[in-house]
Every structure is written in structure tokens, then in C-alpha cells.
């Protein structure tokens, strides 16, 4: 606990932070809510809730359309989030940030728009054994359509990618390397800078699925030299249905539009349509305006707390949680990478994760159970499913103690 105390004394006050998250102040089945499912979606602070409410109460209008006051306010607020996203990721220019529904759409946009244009029969796409289904299936669909090949970087028993095997997969036909920054199922933080560099040396592009990273690590797309980087707003304490795709302007400019419609055009006639410039070329139709504005408030909140503070505090929670769970007989933690985010995926001998999840729920503890949309990870580790406790900066050591006590109850029922 001394490390936790030192983080707190360094200016991070978890009790104060918790006051900002109204959802945390409730009882579930008569017990205080212990929310340990932030890797699925993070809870939202008042700042985000209020920004969305203010938009609907005061500023509601469509964007990029009217000359009237409300439309101008909405447009300014929505576009301000793009500027915030640029700073959040340290992109070169604002037009490199595309609003998408979430990580899934970000990946699909690249697979569909860049992929269809650039991937040919016999080409290769490299992904990793740690990927979420959303960074597998779009590439599989592309490969199937083009007669291209999907190659997979294997991992070891700790859940770390084998870079020497990755090196062997790279070749003259490699077009794209698409890997997650942080594994949602195991918490592994991948050495993406090195992965990207190796991809570039082979003449391939690199896309990083940042769904599990953006709220835990400081991201610098220029330092990483990522060609594409995408994440969902709702995991960064923003609303659902909005996310960001970063792409290098040079690449985005050369890509065809993803969807056609309003807002992505300069002019339309029945003979020919001239597409809009970046970023609007990729933003057809009325977007999730309220979501975009809420996401801006989320960026502000996270920035104010400080990603360094968040990362340090969550790391201490992870260390504390790892120790607490390791003391439980019969429990095995899956994912023991040396670089790891605050995810505790585990199995208990003889007890199915869904039964664990139900018993914990009745004690007010919310965890995720199942394959975490990462069936190949489960298969590699030889388990059908795991229980996953994923931590965020609003969680406390006391909540980890509650989890450990809850697991005691689970063992009591199934002993």
C-alpha cells in the first residue's frame, strides 16, 4: 500500500475523483457497486454528462450546415474536439483526425478504403495472436475479397508477442501490420514503436488498435510513427458511438471515401461528385454530434487529471490486485506480460467464469466473463473463457479487497 499512498500524495486523490463519477455511488443487490469492467466501457464523469446535456439543452443543431447561431455553436464545439484529439495524440494536423463510431469503425474504414485500393492477390496482412475480433475480422474479410493472406504474430505463455517470429513474417508482400497497443483480454502492452519500425523497414504500413490504450497511456502518434491509430471514446470516459481514427494526411489523401453522402462532398451532379478535403471526405452524414462534444469533455478531464498520474496510479492498483489474487488458492492469472495495463484476467480451477461473474454480481461486483471478443487468445491459452477485472483510475485498493472477498464467497459456494 505504500506505493499507492505515494501516488496519492503526488497529487492524485482517488476519493475526490470518485465524486466526479455519479454512477459509482450506487448499491447493486444491496451492496456498494464495485465497477471492475472499465476495459468494456469506462464510467463517465459529470463533466462529460453535463457537456452532452448542455448540447441538447442549449446548442442543439446540425453542424457544418446552417448560418444560424445554434449551428455555429454546435459546429465550433464539435470541431473543438478534433483539435483536442490532435493534442491528445500529438498529431501533426487537425485534418488527420477522423471521427468514427469507435475503434471497430476506424479499423473497418482503413481495411475497406485503404485495403481495397492497395491490397492485391498474394499480398499479406500481419496481425497478432492477441487481437480483439475487431482487429481480426475486417482484415480477414479484406483478405478473402482480395485473395491476400493473413499472417499472425504468435505469443508466448505470458501473453507477450514473439518479435523474432514477427520478423520472419515480414516480407516483400507485407502490406499492413495491424496490432493492438494493449490487449483487452490479458492487458499486455505491446512494444508498438518497435513493431511499427519493423513494419516500415519491410515497406509495410502499420495500424494500431488503441482501444485499450488511450485512457491508460500517453500516446504520441508522431513518436510512434504510426500510419493509423484508432480508439473509442467510451473507453476514455467519453460517450459510446464516437471514436477517433488518426491517419497520416498523405495516406488519407490517397484513399477513396469510405461512405458516400452529405458532408463528404464539395459538389454533386448526376455526372460527377467532387469529394471534400480531409477530414470531411471520410465523414458522410450527420455524425454523433453530442458524442463528439462529450468526447471533448472527456479529453479535458483526462488531461486535467494527467495521464502520467493515471498510469502511475493504475499500475499500483495492478500490482496490489495481482498480489491479492495470487493469494487465492486455485486461482491462476492469465497474462503476465512484463509490460501490462491494469487488467486482471483469471481462471479458478473447477469453476466456470460465468458462475464466478454471477456470484460476484450479487455482491455488487461487476466483472466481465467470457472470451472477451478474443477467442484466438482463449484458444492459445487453452481456456474457453476467463473472468476479467479491469481497473481504472477511479477504482480503489478497497475495491480489490472486495473482489478478493467476493471470490472467497465463490469458492465457498462451489467447494
Amino acid at each position: 500500500m505504500s506505493a499507492l499512498t505515494s501516488v496519492i500524495s503526488a497529487g492524485f486523490d482517488v476519493d475526490k475523483v470518485r465524486e466526479d463519477f455519479p454512477v459509482l455511488k450506487q448499491r447493486i443487490h444491496g451492496k456498494p457497486l464495485v465497477y471492475l469492467d472499465s476495459a468494456a466501457t469506462a464510467q463517465k464523469p459529470f463533466a462529460v454528462i453535463d457537456a452532452i446535456r448542455k448540447f441538447h439543452e442549449v446548442d442543439c443543431a446540425n453542424i457544418h450546415r446552417g448560418v444560424h447561431e445554434l449551428s455555429q455553436r454546435s459546429t465550433a464545439a464539435y470541431e473543438e474536439t478534433r483539435s483536442k484529439a490532435k493534442r491528445f495524440l500529438n498529431a501533426r494536423a487537425k485534418n488527420e483526425l477522423i471521427f468514427v463510431r469507435g475503434t471497430t469503425e476506424g479499423i473497418n474504414l482503413v481495411a475497406s478504403s485503404w485495403g481495397r485500393k492497395n491490397v492485391k492477390e498474394g499480398d499479406e496482412i500481419v496481425i497478432s495472436a492477441l487481437e480483439h475480433h475487431s482487429n481480426i475480422v475486417p482484415w480477414q474479410m479484406l483478405c478473402e475479397e482480395k485473395g491476400a493472406k493473413l499472417r499472425v504474430i504468435p505469443m508466448d505463455d505470458r501473453g507477450e508477442l514473439l518479435l523474432e517470429e514477427y520478423e520472419k513474417l515480414l516480407g516483400p508482400r507485407t502490406r499492413m501490420v495491424a496490432v493492438g497497443h494493449v490487449s483487452n483480454a490479458l492487458g499486455t502492452i505491446n512494444p508498438v514503436r518497435q513493431i511499427i519500425e519493423m513494419a516500415h523497414r519491410a515497406g509495410a504500413l502499420a495500424l494500431i488498435d488503441g482501444a485499450q490504450a488511450a485512457h491508460h497511456l500517453k500516446i504520441d502518434v508522431q513518436a510512434l510513427d504510426a500510419d493509423f491509430y484508432t480508439f473509442s471514446g467510451h473507453k476514455v470516459i467519453g460517450p459510446t458511438g464516437i471514436g477517433i481514427l488518426y491517419g497520416k494526411a498523405r495516406l488519407l489523401n490517397a484513399m477513396p471515401p469510405y461512405q458516400g453522402g452529405g458532408d463528404m462532398i464539395k459538389s454533386v451532379t448526376f455526372e460527377k461528385t467532387i469529394y471534400a478535403d480531409l477530414p470531411y471526405k471520410f465523414e458522410a452524414g450527420t455524425p454523433n454530434i453530442a458524442g463528439g462534444i462529450g468526447l471533448g469533455a472527456a479529453f479535458d478531464y483526462v488531461t486535467r487529471i494527467g495521464l502520467d498520474n493515471i498510469a502511475a496510479y493504475e499500475h499500483e492498483l495492478l500490482v496490489y490486485g495481482t498480489e491479492a489474487l495470487s493469494r487465492i488458492p486455485g486461482l491462476r492469472i492469465l497474462g503476465t506480460a512484463r509490460e501490462k495495463a491494469a487488467v486482471l484476467s483469471f481462471v479458478i480451477e473447477g469453476i466456470h467464469p460465468h458462475d464466478i461473474g454471477t456470484v460476484l454480481d450479487r455482491q455488487g461486483i461487476a466483472v466481465r466473463t467470457g472470451h472477451h471478443c478474443a477467442q484466438p487468445v482463449m484458444e492459445r491459452l487453452g481456456v474457453p473463457a476467463t473472468t476479467r477485472a479491469s481497473l481504472a483510475f477511479y477504482n480503489t485498493a478497497a475495491e480489490i479487497d472486495a473482489l478478493a472477498a467476493g471470490l472467497g464467497k465463490v469458492k465457498e459456494i462451489f467447494s
Binding site: H352, H354, V359, I413, F414
Partner: protein, 146 residues
């Protein structure tokens, strides 16, 4: 209380599932799959003169789905096809509607606790959905609870 869900008989059948083996001379087979949970089961039935002479299963799943498969096989063995399907209907009704709990279900009444756990109803009904498909379709159908 969570103990209402995990009654002793459920824990017992989940730890020592009955009729849990493949059957070489089965004349009806079906596979059930719950994509959300990853639960899987294969059901084997030997049906003679419209009577379920023997029934067995293999699969993986949580305590609820394992106990349900185990108790289902015990309950339908020896019943006619029609009786088995009627029991299925009653079981399903008891778990998914507010109809008062009746004792007609016999031992299966222990699953009525699942009513308070909507996310777990699929676990309790997977074996029964698979039974229905084995009894009503020809070939080796695959059912999914999604």
C-alpha cells in the same frame, strides 16, 4: 440470495454430471452452442418406437448449463417424444414467464431460480433447445441460443 440459484442439486449435477458421455448407437444427434458464453454441447439420443430409450451428452459450460444438461437427460429418459417436448415447453415457460412455480417439473424446479438472473436463462435452456432440435429435425442440426 445467490444460493437460491446455486442450490445443492445444481452444484451436485454440475460437479458430477449424469449421462455425460458419447453414444455410439445413437440415432438422433444435435449440437447446441451459446456463442455469448462459449457453452457447447452435443446431444445423443436413441429413440425406439417414439420412446427416448437412452440419452447422453458431452460438452463444456458453466454450472447452470452443465447441471441443466445432466438433469434434462435424467428427466426425458423413458419418455415418449411427445412427453419430452411437453416437458420442454413447461420448463421453458417456468423459466421465462411469471407463471407460478408448479411441482410438475419435479427435480427441474430447482432451475426456477434462474428467473431472477435473465443473463443466465440461456445457460439453463441450452440443453433443452438442443433436445428440441434433436427430436424435431432430421440429420444432425446445430442450434444456437443467439
Amino acid at each position: 440470495m445467490v444460493d437460491d440459484l446455486y442450490q445443492e442439486i445444481i452444484i451436485d449435477h454440475s460437479k458430477r454430471p449424469r449421462n455425460c458421455h458419447a453414444m455410439a448407437d445413437a440415432n438422433r444427434k444435435a449440437e447446441g452452442y451459446n456463442p455469448l458464453c462459449g457453452d457447447e454441447l452435443k446431444l445423443y439420443i436413441k429413440i425406439e418406437n417414439d420412446i427416448v430409450k437412452d440419452v447422453s451428452w458431452v460438452g463444456t459450460g458453466c454450472a447452470i448449463s452443465t447441471a441443466s444438461a445432466s438433469l434434462m437427460t435424467e428427466s426425458v429418459k423413458g419418455k415418449s417424444r411427445e412427453e419430452a417436448l411437453k416437458l420442454l415447453e413447461k420448463f421453458h415457460d417456468q423459466l421465462t414467464t411469471d407463471t407460478p412455480v408448479t411441482q410438475e417439473l419435479g427435480k427441474l424446479v430447482v432451475f426456477c431460480g434462474v428467473r431472477d438472473y435473465p443473463a443466465r436463462v440461456k445457460c439453463a435452456t441450452l440443453a433443452w433447445h438442443t433436445l428440441k432440435s434433436a427430436l424435431t429435425s432430421s440429420g444432425e442440426p446445430v442450434v444456437s441460443t443467439e
